[in-house]
Amino acid sequence: MPEMTTATAAFAAPPNPFGDLIATTQQALTQPMGPWPGAHLPDWVIFPLAMLAACAAVLGFIAVSAMVLIYLERKISGHIQSRLGPMRTGWHGILQSIADAIKLLFKEDLVPDASHRFLYSFAPVLVFVGALTPFAAIPFAPNVVVANMSLGLFYILAFASLEVIGVLAAGWATSSKWSLYGGMRVGAQMMSYEIPLSLSVLVVVALAGSLNMSEIANQQLYIPFVIQSPWALVAFFLFYISALASAKRAPFDLPEAESELVSGFHTEYSGMRFAYFFLAEYTSMVVLSAIGAIVFLGGWNFPFRADTSPWLGAGQLFVKVAALLFVMIWVRWTIPRVRIDQVMYICLKVLLPMALVCLIGATLQVVGVPAWIMWIVFAAIVTGITITGRRIEKVRATQPAGQTA
């Protein structure tokens, strides 16, 4: 693969701020690489071409991964519920996603009469942009990243929040009450869960002392952060729960609760516009799993050994991401949906304080408290919670669960 190696060589730069993204891309394209006559083209032709090429690569990856994920979700949910799942299209229904894609492409594009035309057609794009842009900063392997920014993690979390605006716009522009309620629920849920999500990631940022994704991964050369610090271990679970919520996955899939809201904000969408929402959901699953795998689980580094083979590294990063995605699907078909007040309770009264405690612990570890003391403190806290757990349960049982003031 000649393109792959050239791109890898060109992007093997130290962490850059944004300004160098342009320079790096141009440099990659103006280098004489085989059949590409890049050196003779003017700058303003090359740059859009470079951007389009990067976009096409990421889009291809997203489309393929979403199709595979949708197929896997159907098969896994089928087997969890003692069904077979799709079986008719190809061997064990392996072509089902392609059939779905063709159906969505040829479906009539319906626009409700009372809708806000521009926002109605713009909202899916916005949601999809929110799911697509984080890929620019996610390294797939050592030095294989679209833009090796020094603020990669911050960038990913920032642009993932564009999705909220798209969802709100979709819910409102449809001018249907179900859609508006669905959009509001998603907006509130995603906004709220951004806080524990960011705080739990901040635990590792404090430990690593960097926001660059590759740098964070490289700091886990022998030991992943979940083993380097007990606070990162807790933060990983907090991150994963928040990720489930911000990807609108079960048990936090209230926005799309079919039985209550008729699939929420995208009720009236059909055809490719619906496909954008669908793609965006699976893409944000991939993005969040990739963050979890790179930031908490060591990325492309094997635990407890330094293996520098980039292909093995990329392969095991893929396995880690796939495992996190599998658990997401597994959880969806295992745990029942929580109520909307329970969603907020979990976020603000459980995840947020725990994330703050983890952050304080991680900061102490950065200041100089050794990891083994931290593990002892952590074990003591866990034991204490376990012992007093019965009492807490007893107090809880006297009042109804999830009661709000």
Binding site: P15, P17, F18, G19, D20, I22, Q26, P42, D43, W44, I46, F47, P48, A114, S115, H116, F118, L119, F122, M149, S150, L151, F154, Y155, L157, A158, F159, S161, L162, V164, I165, L168, A169, G171, W172, S175, L180, G183, M184, G187, A188, M191, E194, L211, A405
Partner: protein, 167 residues
């Protein structure tokens, strides 16, 4: 012509154009989405100034936070899709005078300002670490003061929402 120049001009036109939409739109939701593009384009301008941390903070705070709250407010109160903002002010004379005064002020500030004091090269390690050091060393008092102010506002809002009776 440089590709960065082309992109800069696209961003600049987007910022100004959507700011005009945000100002003159009759439908308040259109105005909100005009503001959305303005804020994103301003983040793009920050990128061109090599202020990477500021650019992403702009997206997080203004686009991901304040604009979403704004949209929540509009969408929860505004039921009709053909809702049109009612312009209650009719004092054109005062408005024109105030606007002219503001214009004179801004123009004089533009005249007085010393331009070209932006460093040409981006800082080597990004801007995040210097900003962090400055906030927690040189400007710690201002930083803590603003955070305590925000906390007070937050507690006040929670108190107001909570209602009077205890249950």
């Amino acid at each position: 012509m440089n590709a960065s120049t082309v992109i800069f001009w696209i961003i600049a036109v987007l910022a100004v154009g959507s700011a005009i939409v945000a100002t003159y739109a009759k439908n308040i939701v259109n105005a909100a989405f005009g503001l959305f593009f303005t804020l994103l384009a301003i983040a793009g301008v920050y990128v061109f100034l090599d202020a990477d941390f500021l650019a992403i903070t702009q997206v997080v705070v203004y686009v991901g936070g304040i604009l979403v709250l704004l949209l929540f407010g509009i969408l929860l109160t505004n039921k009709n899709i053909d809702f049109v903002t009612v312009d209650g002010s009719r004092s054109y004379l005062v408005g024109t005078l105030l606007g002219a005064a503001l214009l004179v002020m801004v123009l004089s500030i533009l005249q007085l300002a010393t331009w070209n004091n932006v460093p040409t090269a981006p800082p080597p390690g990004g801007t995040t670490a210097p900003i962090g050091y400055m906030l927690l060393k040189n400007y710690l008092l201002a930083f803590e003061f603003s955070s305590v102010t925000l906390l007070a506002a937050l507690i006040g809002a929670a108190y107001l929402v909570r209602g009077r009776d205890k249950d």
